[in-house]
């Protein structure tokens, strides 16, 4: 009887819980990807700015 009660409990709770979990997981994944993207864009920006400085140095006396 305990087993059957447990099965019922799982069946009734499963639907709503899984929906919530998927939406939360989706948002978390989006934020994770956004973090990665921001980091790589910051790297690209600093890389370009460094190149500009190097070019400035090379063209200093021209």
């Amino acid at each position: 009887m305990l087993c059957s009660a447990f099965v019922f409990l799982l069946a009734s709770c499963g639907d709503s819980k899984s929906e919530k979990d998927t939406s939360e997981a989706e948002i978390k994944q989006e934020e994770k990807i956004a973090d990665e993207v921001v980091k790589s864009s910051e790297k690209a920006k600093s890389d370009a700015e460094e190149t500009e400085k190097e070019v400035d140095k090379l063209l200093e006396d021209i």
């Binding site: 009887m1 087993c3 059957s4 099965v7 019922f8 069946a11 998927t22 989706e26 948002i27 994944q29 989006e30 934020e31 990807i33 956004a34 973090d35 990665e36 993207v37 921001v38 790589s40 864009s41 910051e42 790297k43 690209a44 920006k45 890389d47 370009a48 700015e49 190149t51 500009e52 190097e54 070019v55 400035d56 090379l58 063209l59 006396d61 021209i62």
Partner: protein
């Protein structure tokens, strides 16, 4: 001994039979309830879906407007917004070629639900633009230096050795800019791929939801 052993086995079998029966009756009841509910909620569901679609469309429009406003202030474009299709054909849609394609990101942002993620994506866009601007400035400086050196060469106001040394420096600067451009292109592609990843996740989830609805019907 034998009767003692048989009793728990019989009990276990009865228990299993009972749980099986109960589970079956529960699932039957659930399906009946489900069909009744579906019939009752058919009209409700259609209106809810249309409302959700409207909301999603509004959200996407809002993001596109924001993005367009952001592009209005693009200095390197002389105040002109970036256009998605600069060329003649529509086949360029989706191909980045190391350049931001205007509205493209606005649409991509529309698929992102979290506000924080959207803001981060906008920050990414700004960073990439700043990187492009820095490289453009470097190119302009090189062009000016070349012009200056050409004038000096024509006017013979500078010894040949000095001119050669300066030419070498200009070439080095050019190489650095070309390399940096290549790197930026690669990083841009990576950013784009990651953005497409979020889009893909969204699509997959929509597909799953649709499949669940079909199964339920």
């Amino acid at each position: 001994m034998k009767t003692k052993l048989k009793n728990p086995i019989i009990c276990l079998l009865i228990l299993m039979f009972m749980t099986g029966l109960q589970f079956e009756s529960y699932s039957q009841g659930k399906s009946e309830k489900g069909t009744e509910k579906k019939e009752n909620n058919k009209s409700k569901a259609s209106s809810e879906i249309s409302k959700e679609v409207e909301k999603e469309l509004e959200r996407q429009e809002g993001m596109e407007k924001e993005h367009k406003e952001m592009h209005k202030s693009d200095k390197h474009m002389n105040g002109k917004p970036l256009k998605m299709n600069k060329g003649k054909s529509d086949s360029t849609h989706g191909k980045m070629h190391g350049k931001m394609k205007g509205d493209m990101h606005g649409k991509e942002f529309g698929h992102i639900r979290s506000e924080a993620a959207k803001q981060k994506m906008m920050a990414t866009h700004e960073n990439m633009q700043k990187a492009e601007e820095a490289l453009k400035r470097s190119e302009e400086k090189i062009a000016k230096a070349k012009e200056k050196l050409l004038k000096a060469e024509k006017g013979e106001s500078m010894p040949k050795e000095e001119i050669l040394g300066k030419k070498e420096k200009i070439e080095k600067a050019e190489e650095k800019v070309v390399e940096a451009k290549e790197r930026l292109k690669m990083q841009h592609m990576q950013v784009h791929e990651k953005m497409m990843e979020t889009k893909k996740i969204k699509k997959e989830q929509l597909k799953e939801a649709e499949e669940v609805e079909i199964e339920g019907a």
